[in-house]
């Protein structure tokens, strides 16, 4: 005999009950809570604005952001220090100093770093702290929520890196061969702005995806962006096409692309590696595609995954 039958035998479903005990105090509800007085639903863009606004507020209140901004502005000091302290030929050219800093630090280090620590965590923290439960029980479009978060990341990260890069450029003009007024130099600066924004798009979207899909987005991100990417650029063949770095490198000015390693010297010998170059146009398309696919996959993950499930069994 199952439990339902047991209770049915005892008349649980059939016996009427007296009124519940009315020892409760009475309360008068305000008008706004009465039925049919729901606030107007503003739709997709209201949710997108909310997601972006809330993420911006959260980011700006974090000490982590101040620390990241401080680190991102440190390269500004390098050209200044070089102009006073160094007498090497490298330091004689402001152009060389700026290009090295822009590529080695801003494009290859800071953009993935910002993406991992901010884009990835903006989504992952709602999952980890289980505030996702509140968001998923709102009539909020999941894509609007994801895009809002991503937009907030892009705004903050772009602002920090572009300002820092511009100041580094200004500081590099202390050296010869770089000027704040020369058109070709300013074009170079704008070129790097573009590369930084495109790199942030791709790295940011990929990190958002890691945040929505894995429990440890920073660990996986460090392995993939700092481990895998650098290994893939050394392995012969076409493996490097499965990295974001391949396409950000392709967008760098000529000087940088010429630095691609074609010979790898090791204790075992010297290996020659054929590098398949990608045109700037195709690199832009690839980066935009990585962004779109990553964000699309994030939205699908948010729609399909059961984020409240980790402690659910038996609850």
């Amino acid at each position: 005999m199952n439990a339902n039958e047991t209770m049915l035998e005892k008349g649980m479903r059939t016996v009427d009950l007296d009124s519940p005990q009315d020892g409760n105090r009475h309360m008068t509800l305000p008008d706004w809570l009465l039925q049919g007085r729901q606030p107007a639903y503003r739709g997709y863009f209201a949710v997108l604005q909310a997601s972006c606004g809330h993420a911006l507020q959260t980011l700006l209140r974090r000490r982590r952001l101040a620390l990241a901004a401080l680190v991102a502005f440190l390269p500004v000091l390098i050209p200044i220090a070089l102009s006073f302290l160094s007498s090497s030929r490298f330091a004689e050219s402001g152009n060389v100093v700026f290009v090295r800093l822009a590529e080695d630090l801003y494009v290859n280090v800071f953009t993935p770093l910002m993406a991992l620590f901010f884009a990835g965590m903006l989504v992952a923290e709602d999952i980890e702290m289980r505030t996702m439960t509140y968001i998923l029980t709102r009539p909020a479009s999941r894509s609007a929520w994801v895009f809002g978060r991503f937009l907030a990341f892009m705004t903050v990260a772009s602002l920090i890196l572009i300002c820092s890069c511009a100041l580094t450029f200004a500081a590099s003009t202390l050296h010869a061969d770089l000027s704040l007024t020369r058109t070709t130099d300013l074009t170079l600066l704008i070129h790097y702005f573009g590369v930084i924004v495109l790199a942030l798009l791709a790295y940011g979207a990929f990190s958002v995806f890691l945040g929505a899909f894995t429990k440890r987005p920073i660990v996986y991100g460090v392995i993939l962006l700092y481990g895998w990417q650098y290994v893939a650029t050394l392995v012969p063949g076409l493996v490097d096409f499965f990295t974001i770095k391949k396409y950000t490198d392709a967008l760098l000015p000529l000087m940088a692309t010429q630095r691609n390693v074609t010979e790898i010297h090791t204790a075992l010998g010297t290996f020659t590696r054929e590098v398949f170059l990608v045109s700037a146009g195709k690199a832009v398309v690839a980066l935009l595609l990585i962004t779109a696919v990553s964000l699309g996959a994030t939205i699908i993950a948010v729609l399909r995954r059961e984020y409240a499930a980790d402690r659910a069994a038996g609850g």
């Binding site: 209770m7 005990q21 309360m27 706004w32 039925q35 606030p39 503003r42 029980t137 659910a312």
Partner: protein, 305 residues
């Protein structure tokens, strides 16, 4: 009356753990008490109805539609979870405001609704304080504020009495009754029968993921009353409190613990009434009340034998 929530053969499992097993259920009444011991599947059932989980088997419908990723259903629902989850570095007001914005309200509507919901839950004075500075009871109230701010038609309250002092519990009972009187459907989960008894006579009784019974309360209560009920009162003056309970005829035993008194009684309502009086007369005398579900467990054991 048409069913607000309808479950047909719903099962939900997580790996090898079955949280809800072949549940057939129809909820129509204004206030429904979801009753069962910890691990019965109450929260899982609520999350299935909220669309947070997809059923592993079967189908669940809320307002006639499948709730998962269904914004039309979500627009009509409010939810107060059992556990304390809050956005980082926010005040109570901001917490409600941002959730209103996520609901799709304009800035102005979200502000107004947040202020009104905080006022309703008596949080206006402290609404601009960080949530980290709130007591357990205040956190509970701010969670209820966010659930009510959009004026839902169906409200899920998962263990809403947790952490509330006697006065807070009284207010919660009154609020739930008032919401139901105003036409809102309320589903309240609890593992304590006497909490549910205060607000409704319609219960859904769950045990180990299965529906044990759905029906009227007093039949269960009859079974429960055969077993002494344990009430744990946290107080630094447990000796002083115990004196008043010695005279109650249905109190079978008083046990003293460190800064707490455990009362075993066959008539818990009389004890709760006395505790409420004490708490009102002397604020700070009672720091907390917890109710053991031992006796409920014994009824479940009896029913499932």
């Amino acid at each position: 009356m048409t069913a607000i929530i309808e479950a047909q053969g719903v099962s939900k499992w997580f790996g090898e753990v079955v949280a809800v097993n072949n549940l057939n259920l129809s909820i129509e009444s204004r206030i429904t008490g979801l009753l069962g011991p910890n691990g019965a599947g109450k929260s899982t059932l609520i999350k299935l109805a909220l669309g947070l989980y997809a059923p592993s088997r079967g189908e669940i419908r809320v307002f006639g539609s499948r709730p998962r990723n269904n914004n039309a259903v979500m627009r009509r629902i409010g939810y107060c979870p059992e556990t304390d989850y809050f956005f980082e570095n926010t005040t109570g007001y901001e917490f409600v405001y941002w959730l209103n914005r996520y609901w799709g309200m304009s800035r102005r509507d979200a502000r107004r609704a947040a202020e009104a919901a905080c006022e309703l839950t008596r949080m206006t004075e402290r609404m601009h304080d960080p949530i980290t500075a709130y007591s357990k009871g205040m956190r509970q109230r701010i969670k209820i504020a966010q659930a009510l701010a959009s004026s839902p038609e169906l409200l899920f309250l998962d263990e809403p009495m947790n952490g509330l002092d006697p006065r807070g519990r009284d207010e919660m009972y009154a609020l739930i009754q008032a919401l139901a009187d105003a036409g809102m459907a309320v589903v309240v989960s609890s593992h304590i029968l006497y909490e549910i008894e205060r607000i409704t006579d319609n219960i859904v009784l769950m045990y180990r993921g299965t529906l044990l019974a759905q029906g009227q309360l007093h039949d269960i209560r009859g079974l429960i009353d055969r077993h002494p009920h344990a009430i744990r009162v946290e107080s630094r003056q447990s000796c002083a409190i115990s004196k008043d309970f010695l005279d109650l005829p249905d109190v079978t035993r008083l046990e003293f613990e460190e800064n707490a008194l455990v009362i075993r009684t066959r008539e818990p309502n009389a004890c709760y009434a006395l505790l409420n009086d004490m708490a009102r007369k002397n604020e700070g005398l009672i720091e907390g009340i917890t109710c053991s579900d031992d006796n409920l467990q014994s009824v479940f054991d009896y029913l499932t034998r």
